[in-house]
Subunit: 281 residues, 4 copies
């Protein structure tokens, strides 16, 4: 038995679940996990089904196209075990990168890292990339930005990256690149959005005197720090925390929030719903 | 459209979801929420479906019996809007009782309180029960325990209580009463079980020097503090917290954990799975 | 032995702790709790000392004035057991009010409630104020605002209120009243500030698709939702939470955050540090 | 100015703070942080003072000995900037080890790693120890345990280790070694103690059906899993988490709890109080 992940989005109507589960049963499939969300305010319906089939998904796909058409579905099906191909972008701070690579090494993150790109040289990161993972140093200036982003695009395309992770990549993507990566690029912002957008959020948090700091993982859109949020977390701080203390505490929050968002994405548990996400955790 | 909650437990087999959702669709029903759990270790399958039907559930019930029989299901269906009838037992500490009654008053807890029973007189509690809610003072001693529990049973039966909540009722139920209330009696224990069973858990926690204290809501079984856990939560403490400080902090944890467990039960989101629960939160 | 709480703020210099503790020792006092904060960025020093004296604090006060003068201290001393006098303002939602009154009743909040003021009639709140606590219905319109606030001021003054708590009082205070109550008025805002200022924060949170919602207790200043933050907390939400679900979940967060801030203030643990607070928890 | 950390434990008496702070002031020192705890139940007094002195601490030490004698203090003073020397013991699972080394590399943990010891060969860990950090493979069987522990003792002594960290070292220390390392050996136990002592705690947690799992960092004593607790944390789990899922989630909890405990110890913030700790966080 091979396991597949099916995700569906369409306008809500009677009979969707019956149609989907009926088709799976007709192919002698067995549903192992199913979650759904009925957005009453937009009328949209979201569903994620994990199911096992005795053989390949070819005949199921063909049959399912009829249902998908009938309900005007956006849908996707992929083998559960097939690791996504992930490109990681990073600047100088490597705590998120190191954490993602470690989780990949011990098998916690089911992904294949197809490359690490940084606007800083490799030795800045004190990093030995895993065997077979290329490192590309793509420096960027205002003038070279378009060319640099073209190279990023080429890497994404050439290596068949399913997902791009901005693991504290301290560069703003152009609208063009953001659009190119739409729905497949996750950023970690080091604040509890929508508080403290923009730069130096921990310094902003210190100035405001908040009693908790946080981090936010979101899909990248052309609108900086406004993309659909996937995961957030916070920790308590006190008056005694300096901005530097917050940066340190923040590293822990950032890496676990990003790892969580990436895990959810890799398992097909995140669906974009306008400016928000549906997360089938 | 009237909404219903259907809960199912049976051995896992192919076609359950298709069968259930097909029957709902056949009755022109619309699924508004569906969650399921496939317990790989026991082979049991659990499902909760909220769905709307154009009329009553009579013909659906009749039809569904065939499916239920085919899959040897334990199942239950009830109107989503019909409030459960709840009996609350309490001793001297009334923080959980006051909290449950407040949540009921503002409509947060969809329940009807059919009575308050205490082994202490009403004036100990400084409580004015809500209009129409009887208060029964049922004192208990070792010798009168059997008779007192018989009166509790009678109250449960006479008032048609669907659920009994032990809101810091500091008496151990007999095996007989625990069995009588099996699956419909929730207790709040003032520790993070399985730590600190038995009496004075905050004093035990203080002695052990733990850095977090908690509370546990569970179904009552004849085995004290061993019933299936529904909800738990904790808060941090430090060396500076005395047992009295922990008792104070604990009140907050207890009332929110109990309120959460009761809410989950009232919405049909908790199913017993041996010595554990499945919670469709 | 009588316990006193001494709070100090001055520019940091060598010898402050030695001066303070020496004076306490000279009066045969015993320090039971001492916390301090050295704000490196502003050069200010904050201290809170709880100590026991064999008799009254009269001679200690006289002696301490010399030290206070030498270090140009802002300082305050008060008997630890003397309950503060608290006025509570509320609109329609009473979950915070009910919670504060309950905590007062069972002795958790060491305060004396000197009155409840609402811009709505008492029967809107379904509340029976505790014995001896006057309820004032002070309706407010744009035109009557100045007069209404004058009455609030008079109540504060006449009843010797040490603290005013805005327990979901849905009116913006005028600059004048905010200034009058400076440092002795705590508000609960139903968002995790600085996110979602202004009205309908849960609706804003829903629109933005955040994965956690929160509440913030802060001192009231003339700058709405910008006052020094005392306490904050959050809880997780998902895509499935409607604005109404958030409002419900938020009630729990609001009442515990406000109760915490009030407790801290009552125990003299909060000191204002510019636009921030020092909290000796 | 050089910063020092002074820790004190003695029976509580009037004048301790005045004595200590007076001596610091007499040496033209400046207190930068001070915290104290008065254990009412045992009558013991604990204090941690961070302070700057114009020169070395030699004359301060000499003078302080008189005060220490007068109050019968246990006391310790050390330069704040002097990194502790830390030996790390590990078995097969390296998530805690990798995390500690990473935090050391980026300067978050102010420590010098004087060696890594494992009962498994280095290649099992896929680890490249940092430059200059020796790796010792010390396999252990029932018969060789005494000899292996003798070698560990020798390494601790020869390298002047101030602290030994059991970073998921899956061996029980003998009473002898536990006593030798008393107060300077931190273990991470993968459960929320006192729940689930002994082996396979996540499997125990799964069987019991708890809704939160946790980890506990504690000083090692001869009584397994009973040592004074330094730090604990938990995360939520559901019925859907298998033991393997809990193990994965647990890795995150373990590494942050252990890192926190080690940080607190390195900064002299943990003092043993019988079977408990005082933690000046």
């Amino acid at each position: 038995m091979e396991e597949y992940i099916l995700t569906i989005c369409c306008e809500n109507r009677r009979g969707i679940v019956a149609g989907v589960s009926g088709e799976i049963a007709a192919h002698e499939g067995n549903i192992t996990e199913a979650t759904q969300f009925d957005d009453r305010l937009t009328g949209l319906f979201f569903m994620r089904v994990a199911f096992e089939l005795p053989g390949t998904d070819r005949s199921f796909r063909t049959a399912f196209e009829q249902i998908a058409k009938a309900f005007a579905m956006n849908w996707n099906i992929r083998p559960a075990k097939q690791p996504m191909r992930v490109l990681i972008l990073v600047s100088k701070f490597d705590h998120c990168l190191v954490d993602l690579l470690y989780r990949m090494r011990i098998g916690e993150l089911k992904m294949q890292c197809v490359g690490i790109v940084s606007n800083h040289p490799q030795d800045v990161l004190e990093l030995t990339p895993p065997d077979g993972v290329p490192f590309d140093h793509l420096p960027v200036t205002k003038d070279s930005k378009a060319a640099q982003e073209a190279r990023i695009k080429a890497i994404v395309t050439d290596r068949g990256a399913d997902l791009v992770v901005l693991a504290r990549y301290m560069q703003v993507l152009s609208n063009d690149l953001a659009a190119f990566l739409s729905g497949r690029c996750i950023n970690i912002h080091h604040s509890f959005l929508p508080g403290f957008k923009g730069s130096k959020p921990y310094h902003q948090a210190y100035e405001r005197g908040v009693k908790m700091i946080g981090a936010t993982a979101h899909y990248v859109t052309s609108d900086l720090d406004e993309g659909p949020i996937i995961a957030q977390d916070v920790e308590q701080v006190t008056h005694a925390h300096t901005p530097e203390d917050m940066i340190q505490k923040g590293r822990d929050i950032e890496r676990r929030v990003l790892a969580r968002a990436v895990t959810l994405h890799l398992e097909g548990r995140v669906m974009v719903n306008g400016s928000k996400t549906v997360v089938f955790a």
